[in-house]
Symmetry: C2
Subunit: 427 residues, 2 copies
Amino acid sequence: MNNTKLLNKRRALLGPNVPTFYQHPVHIVKGEDVWLWDAYGRRYLDGYNNVPHVGHCNPRVVEAICTQSRTLNVHSRYLHDTLVNYVERLVATFGEGLDTAVLTCTGSEANDIALRMAEAMTGKRGIIATDATYHGNTSLVSQLSATNAPQFGFGLDQYVRHVQAPDSLRIDDPQGLRFAAQVQAQIEALERSGIGFAALVVCPLFLNEGFPNQAPGWLQATEQVVRAAGGLLICDEVQSGFARSGSHFWAHEKQGVKPDIVTLGKPMGNGYPIGAVVTQADTMARFRGGYRYFNTFGGNPVACAAAMAVLDEIEQRDLQANAARVGQLAGELLQALADKYSVIGDVRQSGMVFGVELLADATALTPAPEFTDQVVEAMRERGVLLSKLGLHKNTLKIRPPMTFAPEHLALLVSTLDGVLADLLAQA
Amino acid sequence: MNNTKLLNKRRALLGPNVPTFYQHPVHIVKGEDVWLWDAYGRRYLDGYNNVPHVGHCNPRVVEAICTQSRTLNVHSRYLHDTLVNYVERLVATFGEGLDTAVLTCTGSEANDIALRMAEAMTGKRGIIATDATYHGNTSLVSQLSATNAPQFGFGLDQYVRHVQAPDSLRIDDPQGLRFAAQVQAQIEALERSGIGFAALVVCPLFLNEGFPNQAPGWLQATEQVVRAAGGLLICDEVQSGFARSGSHFWAHEKQGVKPDIVTLGKPMGNGYPIGAVVTQADTMARFRGGYRYFNTFGGNPVACAAAMAVLDEIEQRDLQANAARVGQLAGELLQALADKYSVIGDVRQSGMVFGVELLADATALTPAPEFTDQVVEAMRERGVLLSKLGLHKNTLKIRPPMTFAPEHLALLVSTLDGVLADLLAQA
């Protein structure tokens, strides 16, 4: 099918407003490690996708999926080894206390559970999130989005309060005290309203917010505020986890905080649908006691086999060290570009997620979202896939598979160099 | 791992109150078509599982999953053919008007969307369901459960009203007029309360309610009541769909109704996590317009390839006809058992789902839930897996893969014959 026909069929069959990337969406037919191919045989370097965490069509993961799919795939009301073996291995990667899990199919389902756990533990319903975040698509969880906020959803928006997202370029908050004070103010507002404060939900790297530069431990002051109010700290590690930060397996460790609940999703099964909620035994018992939760596909043997293979790949290929090494190199190479192009207002990097903030005016720190769009489109035209994000829609989002190597990075950065040079020459 | 160790590890790692089947849960290691094997090499006939719709480890589905997993698995913000090809083929199985779909990972996610669509279309939030149903596990959808009702969930229980589940043995309602009147009463109660009526959600075969015997068209009176009130009819075809009813591909056709929204899940990908919401273009547009819905794993190429292979199997092996033929035979064989054992108070059958209601007193129609438990356990001891359900927990639930053949049925029924004879002799 050609792209026009595909787009028309999508619109007819899926309805309007279904997101696609790029003015002329890419029609992808094949993937391998950090590479994607379109229907015309063109190869793209994948600088965007975190779901294929250990590489597109990773042979070990594919083999695990195929072998287990041929052997058994059934729900968890029968006993099977893979479920307990995987959960045992998963919780061993967390610090003391975080030693039980519910397996789900998606990060959205995981966050939906986490919020109910918070209600179960506190008897309250007020949830605080940042005003530039995204935590998933259920009726409840989608209410956490301030941008593209849902126009309906059973009145659940009443339970959500937003705090201003951190912005290391514009907001002077080196130790996170200002952020903590904002959380405190929203806690007080929730308590005054009668709703009460149940939990704060954050991505420890603030990835949707534009991954601001933060000193280690930046969230500690906020954690203290949350604890003092009797609320729960939920860390959404759907994007930030599984060693992506480079320095730690879980990004909340980098922040020096101990979440009550951690939620997982996207990269967990390298694309096979699986998510999880990891928490303490008492929180799990309270949830399980008040809720006969069962998830038909959650923790099925194939999902667990895929997820186990992902952990094997991360460990045996030491992809955490790769994320640290390639990420640091990315920071250096992007800084060199920033020295060359004044349109680059800031360099961001946190392990295997990096990017630059593009500015229309370097002094006034005016964002350049349209120019950022042009860069994203031009990169695609030159065979490199990446995206943009953040409060101001002016930060390049480069978040490749964890197998991204220095030579891939070099290609990406040199392509970006060429794109910036050409776009600025045209301007 | 032995079963004791596995159970202890489950309790430690997953928390309390995690459902398992049987007093001594089965430890399953292998599946093939209608057979499962435990860790001790014992083979079981699977009379229970509907998720492996076209048989455990169906070779065509496994091959589709493996081939596509080796080629590409990526989200739908790029274009790929499998998504539109699958949705095109899926909606072609529905009647006129039901021609757009959202793909999700689970039936729970699908029902969570369906309820939001109902709110979007009506501007109201009141949902009606039966008092013996189950539609899924999200914060919103789980509130539809009257039995095992959640103890918390952000106050969403306020939007749910229950009507008495149909019970063809005890409630005289041959044309569904009594049921329709109950729905009407709850609609009026919702309107009076200020919440307003948005939708009725039902499984067209009332499978969780004990699949009562109903004449075709039984739901039509209810449909009229729903339409007259300006509400939506949501048919949850997670269990009843994909030709299981034998007479129709979708069970709502058997009921002679035209739902506004149909939700799908369990059997859709033969165990690969995939679900869907199918609806009219205007409902889809309203939902998509008010909600920038995106599901990372939803409609990924592997899920679509698996789901396409399921449709191929149903069609090419004519499993709908098999469900009709084997189902009818099941009804006849179970009726012969009912003639032999007075403990059998009623025979139920609706295509490839069948069972008997077991009574302690045939005149007073007193349910025999404990005896039903004994039957389920004894069947397992003799190598046949099935379960029980219904309002009174006294109906055997036999809902095997659609490839269940007459010889499998004969084995199941003869085993049940022996179990009933022995248990009744002991009593």
